[in-house]
Amino acid sequence: MQRPRKQSIERTFALSIAGLILIFPANLMPLVGIKMLGGAKDGTLWSGVVALFEEHMWGVAILVFLSSILFPLLNIILSLLISAHLYFKKPHRHLAHWMRWLQHMDEWAMLEVYMLGIIVACVKLASTSELKFGFGLYAFVALLIITGMLASSLDKVLFWRKIGQLRK
């Protein structure tokens, strides 16, 4: 059961803009750097996917790409599109489709699981090498908080009702 939330459309609109801004540094800037036996390396969300792909683990690489990069991005873009249309009360014929996709995609955007993965990987590496946290990690944590707030501010019942009203 869900209880109605205050200013759901406005908040979703604002949060998805913030998320869209944050997703770029979180994806492009290094999350963690490592210094080990004289060599140094930075890791980004993207480099993990590339490294898996180079080892011919394309199945895993695609899964990681979808759940850590593509679906979070689509999630934010769709929330932005839907809440913007509802905020400005502009009907759009794909509004219901977008909302349905958003609901199905919700489960597959796994940023918070990725965060735990980073923590476990860091703990494993901490004993043998020197770790450095990049700016990307701060952006990533901020993005995590934003997507969490986004999920809790989006009132599905209200959104569907408004979409239904716009269709008429």
């Binding site: 490592i34 895993v60 990681v64 909302m99 489960e107 699981v113 993965g117 590496l125 979409i163």
Partner: protein, 203 residues
């Protein structure tokens, strides 16, 4: 035979996507609110869940037997299985993290395989008792599924970070693909299972 207590028993269909209730009839196949296709229950829910669950179960075995990654230090390769990685963490005095990995990559997939299996048995043999508890169990299974991806993400980070040529390197093993498939298949299985089937057999 569908119980009179359910909405379907009283002639209503609930839309899967927007939750709008509409009256069951031959002509309205589309939801009046969102335009989605209406089904009284998820189509072929039981068969799909059985198929997905069986394939997940088959893949669960290689996922645990084969090495999930190989750590090479100064030219010497050392394969790790999922359990081996947890034991290594315990030996390194990192018990809380070891517990976390144990829960996420062994207990959760196992719980999902067994739990969904029990739910399917429940629906098939029409067990009468504790429908509420079964529904709660289904919710837990559906919620907890995504956390098993932890191991996969950890490997993706390790593979990209530890890549110093011959000095130190982490290579993902065949179990990673199998394990990822288990996670995805069980997530699809949980999604294709319709928890209302539990309630259809209650009188």
């Amino acid at each position: 035979m569908i119980s009179k207590k359910t909405a379907l028993g009283q002639g209503f269909i609930r839309c899967h996507d927007c939750g709008c209730l509409s009256i069951k009839s031959e002509k309205n196949r589309l939801c009046p609110l969102c335009g989605g296709r209406l089904h009284p229950r998820l189509p072929n829910s039981f068969q799909r869940t059985v198929a997905l669950l069986l394939s997940a179960f088959c893949l669960y075995i290689p996922a645990n037997i084969f090495p999930i990654m190989t750590v090479t230090r100064l030219g010497v390769g050392e394969p790790h299985t999922i359990i081996g990685g947890i034991i290594a963490l315990i030996h390194g005095n990192m018990v809380p993290i070891a517990m976390l990995v144990l829960v996420a990559s062994i207990l959760v997939p196992l719980l999902k395989l067994v739990g969904l299996g029990l739910l399917l048995l429940n629906v098939h043999y029409r067990w009468q008792a504790h429908a509420k508890k079964w529904t709660i169990m289904y919710r837990i299974i559906a919620f907890v599924g995504r956390w098993s991806m932890l191991d996969i993400f950890m490997i993706s980070i390790l593979v990209s970070l530890v890549d110093m040529g011959g000095v130190a390197q982490v290579i993902a093993g065949p179990a990673a693909t199998a394990f990822a498939a288990v996670v995805v298949l069980t997530m699809f299985a949980a999604k294709s299972f319709d928890p209302r089937l539990i309630w259809d057999n209650q009188y």
